[in-house]
Symmetry: C2
Subunit: 347 residues, 2 copies
DNA sequence: TTTAGCTGGACACTTATCGTCCCGCTACAT
DNA sequence: ATGTAGCGGGACGATAAGTGTCCAGCTAAA
């Protein structure tokens, strides 16, 4: 780190926290504009008064302007965000974390974003935005993109900029409809991606919890077979990583399933597979969808998960993840992962 | 200025003031160490509590350590001071001020130091220190140095580092003994300089307020004549600049003299000469000492004066000062000077 | 041995901050 | 056209933080 910055921090130790807080607020406003105090305080995870104090300051500094519909970031504000982006990543130690995680997880790229989405819901939007930027960078080269479901994936679709339209893009739902909220189903997300980018969409509608015979029969259907072939040609896989138990409960799985997941020691879940803490597959939901092998042979894989509560799941998943996988996460998760592994080393 | 710093300031406008304050306190401790809270609060011009709050912080940051004799700056603290020195000058706009003053006063070099010695007595020590560094840089080249009196000059002698000893140096009292405090007489200062540097000293003892005849007679004395010749060979002149009225009062001048000084519109004083606001000599104390012409033909001249109260005097003196003169002043004086000249331009 | 000056602790008091509610307004959806 | 949700700004008692001031105990120099 810059020796000047270090000296500043020595003389003003409160600077880092204060800068982080204000930067986060300004960033959140930018991501959600126009937004009011109350909504902002929800997203930032602080009280209305706190938000008010800081936004008053930001307004005085002419970084945001207050319109009747809410606050928006001024041109100057955007400039400040840009100027501080790398600095904030450095000063928070994010760059150092990325390096550590890269070697720890054995993958080529890790992106760690500020704060913790467990504390500050707005961090999810930022993760979504950066994931969207990364994904968009693949568009010229790769056209067949498989996407899963989940709120994390929804955040990405929100942040896809519509000025990168490309009608050749093909978004493929990586999984069939499951017992999840329809808004966060892979099918919904895939069509949302397509809508934002002007690409086409391939959805997969298969009810969850089929009997084995029904399942086998469906797999012989041409529409379904076509999807299975598409999975083989996938260029990019974009997926979230979940906590095994949470996901199992969300899906209203049968008690038998939950039992198998529990007894197998499942920690993480991704595209229908459950992994234990060694990264071994301990269970798989019997529904159509992309195969683990198909994911791993894709040229590019984006794995997205934030919040310290996901640390264990991330660690579990990356025990056997493909080396070309790119992880996009946040400070909270990254910190926790490094803590956990450090403890293990001590033992 | 660095765009990153600018962005930081936008997001944390209180940073500048806070940094300045803490930097100044740390610097003052360094200059006066070991020093206690009460003495420090006097020098810094703030309350004991304020000082205590900040020094507690500095101690927590391990920039200072508290010994029973007082606080001293740690190694880390010195590093912080060094790292921040140029930054503070930049962020306070001192560098910009120096440029403006250089062209305004028509001289080649101006050094502006932080804060205002009218508010913070410790600033004088800093001015003294920097003046000492500048003077020391001349030592290899120039050996004959004429010095005047005053508290400013005393501050320099305090800060002369004794590890630059040079027995060839010759310090010449630029003036005879005047009705001033003996501690701040040119003679005292000159011998103090000599003591610190290992050089020799030439003092000039002549009572103030001599009759004209006695004065003429003295001037024919060999000891005195020798001094007059030395003035001709002076390499460096180091002098302060005073407010005409203050100096006149300090010297317990006769009412006649004070009247002449007043009616002449004298604003500034330096080495016994009084200048009006156009820089014209309006009066000269009849005592032995260096001549204005002798000063102006010296290869190097250091003029030192700080505090906004000295702004008018500085401005007055530099109306006709030699272009090789170097001004060492502080933020308060510099700011006031620029304000004053800006007002004149508006009219 | 005395004394001056230092740190660290203590405490009442003032000041600023915070949580909370309300108001009038605007923009959008009905 | 009209209702309504959400906005910024104002206000104010409760509360926490900061401030001025003193004292005890200690150390080092005179």
């Amino acid at each position: 780190m810059d020796p000047l910055t270090e000296a500043q921090q020595k003389l003003m130790p409160e600077m880092t926290e204060l800068l982080k807080k204000r930067y986060q607020i300004l960033l959140t406003i930018k991501l959600e504009e126009p937004i009011g105090r109350r909504a902002l305080s929800e997203l930032a995870g602080s009280t209305e008064r706190e938000i008010r104090k800081e936004t008053d300051l930001l307004r005085n500094q002419q970084l945001v302007v207050a319109k009747s519909a809410g606050m928006i970031v001024s041109e100057q504000g955007v400039a400040v965000l840009d100027a501080l982006r790398d600095f904030m990543r450095d000063v928070s130690g994010l760059i150092a974390m990325e390096k550590q995680l890269k070697s720890l997880l054995g993958i080529s790229k890790v992106l760690v974003l500020p704060q913790d989405s467990d504390d500050i819901p707005a961090v999810k939007s930022n993760i979504g935005k950066e994931a969207a930027r990364l994904l968009e960078a693949f568009f010229p080269q790769y056209k067949k993109i498989a996407v899963t479901g989940g709120s994390t994936m929804a955040a990405i679709s929100k942040e896809l900029s519509s000025d990168k339209r490309d009608s050749l893009l093909q978004f493929i739902a990586a999984r069939g409809g499951l017992g999840e909220d329809v808004l966060h189903q892979a099918n919904t997300i895939a069509s949302s991606f397509a809508g934002k980018t002007g690409g086409s969409v391939k959805t997969l509608y298969l009810p969850d919890h089929l009997s084995e015979e029904a399942y086998e029969m469906m797999m012989r259907e041409p529409v379904i077979k076509e999807m299975m072939d598409l999975y083989d040609q996938t260029d990019v896989v974009v997926h979230g990583i979940g906590n095994a138990e949470e996901i199992a409960l969300q899906r209203q799985s049968s008690t038998e399933e939950v039992e198998r997941i529990r007894s197998g020691g499942a920690v993480s879940e991704a595209f229908g597979y459950y992994f234990d803490k060694e990264g071994k597959v301990v269970y798989r939901i019997r529904t159509a969808g992309i195969q683990l092998e198909q994911v791993q042979k894709a040229p590019a894989i984006l794995a997205i998960a934030g919040g310290r509560s996901k640390a264990k799941a991330i660690l579990s998943y990356f025990r056997n993840a493909a080396p070309q996988t790119i992880l996009i996460t946040d400070e909270g998760a990254a910190q926790k992962i490094l803590e956990l592994t450090q403890k293990q080393e001590e033992i």
